[in-house]
């Protein structure tokens, strides 16, 4: 379903506006399909290509009927996945992982059965080095427009001149605070850990992910988010272990705990912050004044992906600007693709969660490749968890 702007009966902006209304539940699916012309378009396509809706062999070629997609929690719009399945007859199995290390461990052990997965910027060079991901044939992803992507976020996809993945979204790592429960409005990682061990004791979630959990502790101590210095890591470990009795949980899937108000504070990625704030206005996403992470995620294909055709079709589908915008409308993470950004509501341009003040952004670091495999960081995290 390649949608180009000129055969759209309505403007792109209007489309997304209607789409937001549809998602909020203020209009019905029928209304949405009618207003946007999608219904008519589908009807036309339906008659023109009768096999299109039959599931199997169709305009997309024979893609098989399965795709295994490994990604992160709360990071996709189900409507997109359903639409892809409906159009191609490919059913998607979604796996959610809480850390890049876990994805790496699975791939290293072999035989994952994954077709597409979502690695973070700093891990890609490692995957290439370990020969775990495929070089992409960009001619099979025509929807991908390299020129439209912000190189700051898209560059890690290219290793030794070869392209191994295409960008998904970018975002920041800070923390979320339930302001009804915690009144002191913490601003830094130092505040975060102080509150955890005082007023918020028993109600903080740290990620089950070494990069962000150790990174947050390092920032609180005034060190780099990416440090692999043994002495600095030892201090971070001490801080983490000291805070452990005051934690609610160690998990990367922190939304359920925050939503049930069992937890009042958590390390948080900005899009999840938006998702939480949309439903509970008391949730405040904070980019810490003493540092944090800026990152971009990608779509990649593992070396032994069993459904290669479907994998390419899926990535191509997800690169469509409309699909990207529709994804972002639900998960709250910014696209790296200017074409998709152009489709988003204007209000997002001034959204403080998506576009934080420049001085806050300056303190953020991209994850460093060596943190993924650094033995000390791995062991610090494991010791903290079993402490």
């Amino acid at each position: 379903m390649s949608k180009s702007n000129d055969d759209k009966p309505i403007t792109a902006k209007k489309f997304m506006k209607e789409f937001h209304r549809y998602q909020n539940g203020s209009i019905t699916r029928r209304h949405f399909l009618g207003v946007t012309g999608l219904g008519a378009a589908m009807a036309v396509m339906g008659t023109a290509v009768p096999s299109l809706w039959s599931g199997k062999a169709n305009a997309f070629g024979d893609l098989g009927d399965r795709l295994v997609f490994s990604t992160w929690p709360n990071y996709q719009n189900q409507v997109n996945l359903d639409e892809f399945s409906e159009m191609t007859g490919v059913n998607i199995q979604l796996n959610a992982f809480g850390s890049n290390e876990e994805m790496l461990a699975k791939l290293q052990a072999g035989g994952t059965g994954w077709d597409v997965f979502v690695p973070t910027n700093y891990t890609i060079s490692n995957y290439v080095e370990l020969d775990l991901i495929q070089e992409l044939d960009l001619s099979r992803i025509p929807n991908y427009d390299a020129a439209a992507n912000n190189p700051k976020f898209a560059d890690p996809a290219t290793v030794n001149g070869k392209v191994y993945c295409v960008p998904k979204n970018w975002g920041t790592t800070g923390f979320i605070v339930n302001s009804k429960k915690i009144k002191s409005s913490p601003k830094s990682w130092k505040d975060f850990f102080d509150v955890t061990m005082a007023a918020g004791s028993g109600h903080t979630i740290l990620h089950d992910y070494q990069l962000t959990t150790i990174g947050g502790a390092l920032c609180a101590l005034g060190y780099s988010f990416n440090s692999i210095d043994a002495k600095e890591l030892a201090e971070a470990e001490a801080l983490l272990i000291k805070s452990k009795p005051h934690l609610f949980a160690i998990t990367s899937d922190y939304q359920p705990g925050m939503r049930s108000t069992d937890a009042w504070m958590s390390i948080c990625w900005n899009g999840d912050g938006t998702q939480l704030k949309n439903d509970m206005p008391e949730m405040e996403y904070v980019i810490a004044t003493d540092g944090g992470e800026i990152w971009s995620d990608f779509y990649a294909i593992p070396k032994d992906a069993p459904h290669l055709e479907a994998a390419y079709a899926f990535i191509n589908f997800m690169q469509d600007p409309y699909v990207q915008a529709r994804d972002a409308a639900v998960h709250g993470y910014a696209p790296t693709d200017a074409r998709a950004i152009a489709l988003q509501p204007d209000s997002l341009g001034s959204d403080p969660i998506l576009h934080p003040a420049a001085e806050l952004m300056n303190g953020l670091e991209f994850g460093a490749a060596q943190t993924l495999t650094d033995p000390i960081r791995a062991e610090v995290m494991a010791r903290f968890k079993s402490a």
Binding site: N91, A96, G110, G111
Partner: protein
């Protein structure tokens, strides 16, 4: 005492009631109830991954149960003829294999197989004729079945041995004295006596394998068993689909049980 029993049954069934109740939830989230709907049953039944996982689990569990009861029974029969060191050795192995935690079996099998495959795969590739794609050894059905069978086989041996120990020896000796062939003695005298133990072992093996998560988690490779699928569903944010699957498995096993009960009763009545 009766009140106590009622309390324990409540403890056992309230969570199950909740699982069943939420499987009919119209809402998307497993945490709040929003009206009645059977959509999640529809979703689960039309989801090919659930079907795949179910079939995989069935294949694995049946293979494990059949292998375990055959090999376990054979070993139990042979073990009563064994004496001295070999017997002690076998006793020790049976005891160790029952006692080792599943997680260690899973990890040890994974590590051992990965090592073997890393060694064999390049050899296979170099020995293979140019042009054609060499086969690649990897984790799969064989590794899960083999790993499950280690534990369940020992379970069958223990059950059958206990039964043999309580068996009436005089019957076997009488049969032998009457010049029945060993095969006939086995078939007509021994087997009917140890049959309940074999059946119990078969069922236990099946149940263990069907519900096992931790061993399969490490050695199933790309094959997704039902528990692995459920684990993944819970991790990606549970929807009532999981409740629907759980309820269906429960109902299926109940139906099986009642049918078996019914058939058995019918047979004994005749």
């Amino acid at each position: 005492m009766r009140i106590y029993a009622i309390a324990v049954f409540l403890f056992l069934y309230v969570p199950i009631g909740i699982i069943v109740l939420f499987s009919f939830n119209a809402g998307r989230h497993a945490s709040e109830l929003k009206g009645f709907s059977i959509q999640w049953y529809d979703k689960a039944l039309s989801n090919p991954f659930v079907g795949d996982a179910f079939v995989t689990s069935l294949i694995v569990a049946f293979s494990v149960a059949i292998l375990s009861s055959l090999m376990g029974t054979a070993a139990a029969l042979a073990l009563q003829r064994l004496k001295g060191t070999p017997k002690m050795l076998f006793d020790g192995l049976i005891y160790v294999s029952v006692m080792i935690p599943g997680i260690v079996i899973g990890i040890a099998t994974l590590v051992a197989l990965v090592t073997v495959f890393d060694f064999l795969n390049p050899l296979l590739a170099s020995a293979w004729p140019e042009g054609s794609k060499p086969p690649k050894l990897h984790m799969g059905y064989a590794s899960v079945i083999a790993a499950h069978t280690l534990f369940t086989m020992s379970l069958v041996i223990i059950l059958v041995r206990a039964r043999i120990a309580g068996m009436d020896r005089a019957l076997i000796e009488a049969s032998m004295d009457l010049y029945a062939t060993p095969w006939r003695t086995f078939y007509q005298v021994t087997l009917p006596q140890i049959y309940p133990a074999i059946l119990a072992g078969f069922l236990l093996s099946f149940t263990f394998s069907f519900d096992d998560f931790i061993i399969s988690f490490f050695v199933a490779g790309a094959n997704t068993t039902l528990p692995i699928y459920i684990f993944a569903s819970i991790r990606r944010g549970i929807t009532p689909e999981v409740n629907a699957i759980g309820t269906m498995v429960l109902v299926a096993s109940l139906v099986l049980l009642l049918t078996a009960q019914f058939l058995l009763r019918k047979r004994t009545q005749r």
